[in-house]
């Protein structure tokens, strides 16, 4: 496939500038809180982008992101506890998540639609039990359950984790662009709209779905590893928790599912909410739930969808009158 470079150059420039500016921030002495907000934004963005790739573009309502994120985190822990280098752990986290995705893809892709969604929902629940029982590397217990501290973090500063998060977010954005402009992206869209027609048009349905599934698992695994580097601690109940899915769902849906820029806006809003509501610890999730419901009813196409498509008054009118 030949690439139209002139068009491409115009589209990539703002992104590259944004990445350079963001990369310079810690060196330029930006406040630590900003960097923390941005760090979380990058991690959520990378994950939400991949969820968007699966749900928005491939029609795979995959409810198991926690499985890939948790596996990424646990691989990092196991590698660092074994005395292997830290960065190997991050990369290995992605690879393990990707291999796991390939293994579960064979049974999962036999299921369709809702069966697929529910099949994926069971996966993190099963992994949670596995990691509650299995203590892969020795050492004393930290806290209850089967939690681990992340070892070998001595050389790693907050700036390093910030850059790692930025890198994975940038990779996820690049990946989305490349995939959506490629044959793979067209194949995915065709499968999402009608998989039987896609199959009869010569698309290898299984392989196309597998590619997007494995790519998403890889990026989520790495993002998970980066997140647990910041957290410094991992335990099965939170690593494989359904709340990961909620966060990604919120980021994708509030921004606009199936829209390339959607997760960017969505992740910004999720991070802002996260910190705004941190003061009201007990109510924070409650308010997020209310926001999720209201957004879905008022602007189902998400904020980016709203900006692109109809005006806000139309959506509000629709809600009040209850008509289409």
């Amino acid at each position: 496939m030949r690439l139209d470079t002139s068009l491409l150059r115009g589209r990539w420039t703002p992104l590259v500038i944004a990445i350079v500016v963001l990369a310079v921030l810690p060196v330029a002495g930006a406040p630590a809180t900003w960097l923390l907000y941005l760090f979380l934004f990058f991690v959520y963005l990378a994950m939400a982008n991949m969820w968007n790739l699966l749900a928005g573009y491939s029609g795979l309502i995959c409810l198991s992101p926690a499985a890939f994120i948790g596996l990424g985190g646990y691989t990092l822990v196991i590698i660092t506890w074994s005395g292997l280098p830290f960065y190997l752990g991050i990369i290995a986290g992605g690879i393990v998540a990707a291999i796991f995705a390939i293994i579960i893809a064979y049974p999962l892709f036999r299921m369709r639609g809702i069966y697929f969604a529910i099949g994926t929902l069971v996966v993190p629940a099963a992994l949670q039990v596995v990691f509650l029982l299995w203590r892969p590397v020795g050492g004393e217990l930290h806290g209850g359950g089967a939690g681990y501290m992340v070892k070998g973090l001595t050389g790693i500063t907050t700036t390093d984790t910030y850059w790692m998060a930025l890198a994975i977010a940038a990779i996820s954005v690049f990946l989305m662009r490349v995939i959506l402009n490629s044959k793979l992206g067209l194949g995915l869209a065709a499968i999402r709209d009608n998989d039987e027609t896609a199959g009869s048009s010569g698309i290898n349905v299984f392989r196309t779905k597998l590619y997007s599934f494995v790519i998403a698992a890889f990026v989520m695994g790495i993002a998970g590893g980066v997140f647990y580097t910041y957290q410094g601690y991992i335990e099965p109940n939170s690593a494989f928790n359904i709340s990961w899915l909620m966060t990604l769902l919120m980021a994708t849906v509030i921004g606009g599912e199936g829209i390339e820029d959607g997760p960017i806006i969505g992740a910004v809003i999720v991070v802002i909410l996260h910190f705004l509501l941190a003061k009201y610890a007990g109510l924070s999730l409650l308010i997020q739930g209310v926001i999720l419901v209201v957004v879905m009813l008022v602007v189902p196409q998400g904020i980016m969808g709203l900006i692109r498509g109809g005006g806000i008054h139309r959506s509000v009118r629709k809600l009040i009158t209850g008509r289409r």
């Binding site: 309502i61 049974p107 809702i114 069966y115 099963a126 909620m246 999730l285 409650l286 209310v290 009813l297």
Partner: protein, 290 residues
């Protein structure tokens, strides 16, 4: 040798089948909502827990027995279900199916946090006089509540079956689930039917909640755990098949208890999840799926 193993296994097998009844009660509400509205109600687990907390409240504050409290909680849950469907879900149905799924996630998030605020994150249980009793049949020792779970499972299944087959409302629910458009043309108010179906599912959830509270301790975040079990049961049997859900519940309970016997209690859920996964991989539409 084999005989010893068999007599040893008798207890986990009986317990598994009886415990399956609890999963059937929880799963039937989910199955009904799915069958009629094609909606995965991810808030179902949390709504079941609502009933557990209601029974807990009735027991500790009003001194009402959990089973008797169903007389109050079933109508209340029916009303809540009807209201959720009428004011929230019917609106999101007009948007898209994804929207409804996400709205359910939102509701689940809201409920879990409301429980935490009202009842604190402590683990609770409906510890009545009979909750800890058990009786022996031969060498098999059966807790009374397990038998209660099984009876509730059977009762709810037969009630639902007869209701859908014999009453006007039941037939209308069936019609709306088979062909939404044709049902409208026959003069059925499908939005009202949906409200009714969701209300009914919630009334079953009330029964499920009380059984759950009697059998296991629960916390505000127990909902998703039982949701995942109920999901497994529903797809195991095949979506839209009531008999399938019943048999799915039995299989899940058996896998859990027999798995617990061989691999230890800590691994029993893993055995059940893996079994669900294997059966689905072999029969992607479940045992009785259409």
């Amino acid at each position: 040798m084999t005989l010893e193993l068999l007599t040893d296994l008798a207890t986990p097998i009986t317990r598994g089948i009886l415990l399956g009844g609890l999963y059937v009660v929880i799963a039937l509400g989910l199955s009904l909502v799915f069958g009629v509205m094609k909606l995965i109600n991810v808030a179902h687990g949390d709504l079941v827990i609502f009933s557990s907390y209601f029974a807990f409240f009735a027991m500790t504050s009003l001194g009402v027995d959990p089973i008797l409290s169903l007389g109050m909680s079933m109508p209340i849950m029916f009303g809540i279900g009807f209201a959720i469907q009428k004011y929230i879900l019917n609106r999101s149905f007009r948007v898209s199916m994804d929207a409804s799924l996400i709205v359910c996630f939102g509701i689940s998030l809201i409920l879990e946090n409301v429980y935490q605020i009202i009842w604190t994150p402590l683990s609770r249980g409906l510890t009545t006089g009979y909750a800890l009793k058990s009786f022996a049949v031969g060498a098999v020792n059966i807790p009374l509540v397990y038998l209660l779970d099984f009876i509730a499972g059977l009762a709810v299944m037969f009630f639902l079956r007869e209701f859908l087959g014999r009453t006007y409302m039941g037939k209308a629910i069936k019609a709306a689930s088979q062909d939404h458009r044709a049902a409208i043309l026959m003069g059925i108010n499908t939005e009202r039917i949906y409200g009714f179906a969701f209300g009914l599912a919630m009334a079953f959830a009330a029964v499920g909640g009380v059984c759950l509270g009697l059998t296991f301790p629960f916390t505000p975040t127990s909902g998703p755990q039982f949701l995942i079990i109920a999901m497994g049961v529903v797809i195991l049997g095949g979506l839209g098949s009531m008999l399938g859900t019943f048999i799915g519940g039995m299989i899940f309970g058996l896998a859990q208890c027999v798995g617990g016997y061989f691999f230890g209690v800590a691994a029993q859920m893993l055995v059940a999840y893996v079994l669900v996964f294997i059966i689905l991989a072999a029969i992607p539409r479940g045992l009785f799926g259409r």
